[in-house]
């Protein structure tokens, strides 16, 4: 694994994503998702909302890095809140 040049933050990041995916899979087996309409303009399933949340969080982080010199964890908190809102009401 040396060639993959792991660092602690990136390992934590991928562990987080992996846990999220496993958790979502388990959740799907327990209570299968239904496609429904929330505040997003399209009907989505839980998985769709997770994907939209992750993609938009990636973009929000990039915008933050590109336009401000503030520390990164501020936008990370905003993204966590955004993802929770999206999963619940999206």
């Amino acid at each position: 694994m040396e060639w993959m040049a792991w660092t602690l933050p990136t390992s934590l990041f991928f562990a987080g994503i992996g846990t999220l995916l496993l958790g979502m899979t388990a959740w799907q087996f327990v209570t299968p998702t239904l496609s429904r309409q929330g505040f997003l303009p399209i009907a989505t399933t839980r998985g769709d909302r997770l994907f939209i949340g992750l993609l938009s969080s990636g973009w929000l982080h990039l915008l933050w890095l590109g336009f401000t010199d503030q520390v990164l964890w501020m936008i990370s908190i905003v993204c966590v809140v955004w993802m929770l809102v999206l999963m619940k009401w999206g």
Binding site: W3, A5, T10, F14, F51, L55, L65, G66
Partner: protein
């Protein structure tokens, strides 16, 4: 939709997931690891956090390259999509001419990218190339190696020559799939050819056009070989598109950390656009159903 599906068939996807893991996901994770480090080789590396991202996002050279890339991709779409539809509409509907047209249209698609670049490099020359020579005879001062506008025109014409066939063939298959009853109804109503196109053909072509637009956008957004062979990204950097800038950074300068951060930004752009197209397509299907 108020019912759940049996998801057991997903297990059949497992082999693909394993292949994709080794061909895409693990390399991708490595790129993410590289993008937060100043790295020369796995034993010589320093953690720099989001430093590369900040630099890349504020790099003028990359902004220019990104703008060029978008202009190029939109120009390609703006020319190839209407032209492809026009070619498909003017193709014969039956007889041996159909096969002939299909073969002629398919030919450019079979030519490898670097050969296309070489063909246009020669054809655009003023001394021995037909296109360059003809323009010279018309009194047009044309030189794709020194004039940025000429270089752009040549790179665009080359792409149009190479890929309009794809759009035309897709549209042709879409047109052939329209049942004759629609045309009969149009004849009864004495619809004009424009009305037939606007209210029958174009709506029926929507799904193939979406696929065509997506394929052409993705492909032109990743373009590397053809401009690289034709102009080498020049004159100056006027035809240096994103993937060439990335290659210069990764292989030319051996700036792996920065190149990794750049690749991830590039990836996010592609991912966003693909998702938008995918959503548009799947929702159109559910609207039609």
């Amino acid at each position: 939709m108020q019912r759940t599906h049996n998801n057991r068939a997903w297990w059949l996807v497992l082999p693909v997931v394993i292949v994709v893991a080794f061909s895409a996901i693990i390399p991708m994770m490595t790129v993410v690891n590289y993008s937060v480090q100043d790295i020369f080789d796995p034993s010589t590396r320093f953690f720099v956090g989001t430093e590369w991202y900040r630099e890349i996002l504020r790099d003028e050279r990359l902004h220019d390259s990104l703008i060029r890339q978008f202009v190029y991709s939109f120009a390609v779409l703006a020319i190839e999509i209407p032209l492809g539809i026009a070619v498909a509409l003017s193709m014969p509907r039956k007889g041996f001419m159909v096969s002939l047209c299909m073969i002629l249209l398919a030919l450019p698609l079979l030519i490898p990218w670097n050969v296309v670049g070489t063909i246009w490099q020669i054809i655009g020359r003023e001394d021995i190339g037909l296109y360059g020579w003809a323009l010279g005879q018309l009194g047009i001062d044309y030189n794709y190696a020194s004039n940025p506008a000429d270089a752009w025109v040549t790179v665009l014409v080359m792409d149009v020559w190479h890929w309009t066939s794809l759009v035309a063939l897709l549209c042709y298959s879409g047109l052939r799939a329209i049942p004759d009853v629609y045309y009969q109804a149009a004849r009864i109503d004495r619809a004009s050819p424009w009305a037939v196109f606007r209210y029958i053909q174009l709506p029926k072509l929507k799904s193939v056009l979406l696929i065509g637009i997506m394929l052409r956008f993705m492909d032109s957004f990743m373009i590397y070989t053809e401009p690289f062979v034709l102009t080498g990204g020049g004159p100056g950097t006027t035809t240096t598109f994103l993937s060439q800038t990335l290659t210069q950074m990764a292989i030319g300068q051996f700036d792996l950390g920065r190149a990794a951060a750049f690749s991830l930004i590039y990836f996010l752009i592609i991912l966003l656009v693909s998702w938008l197209f995918y959503t548009a397509m799947t929702h159109q299907d559910s609207d039609d159903a």
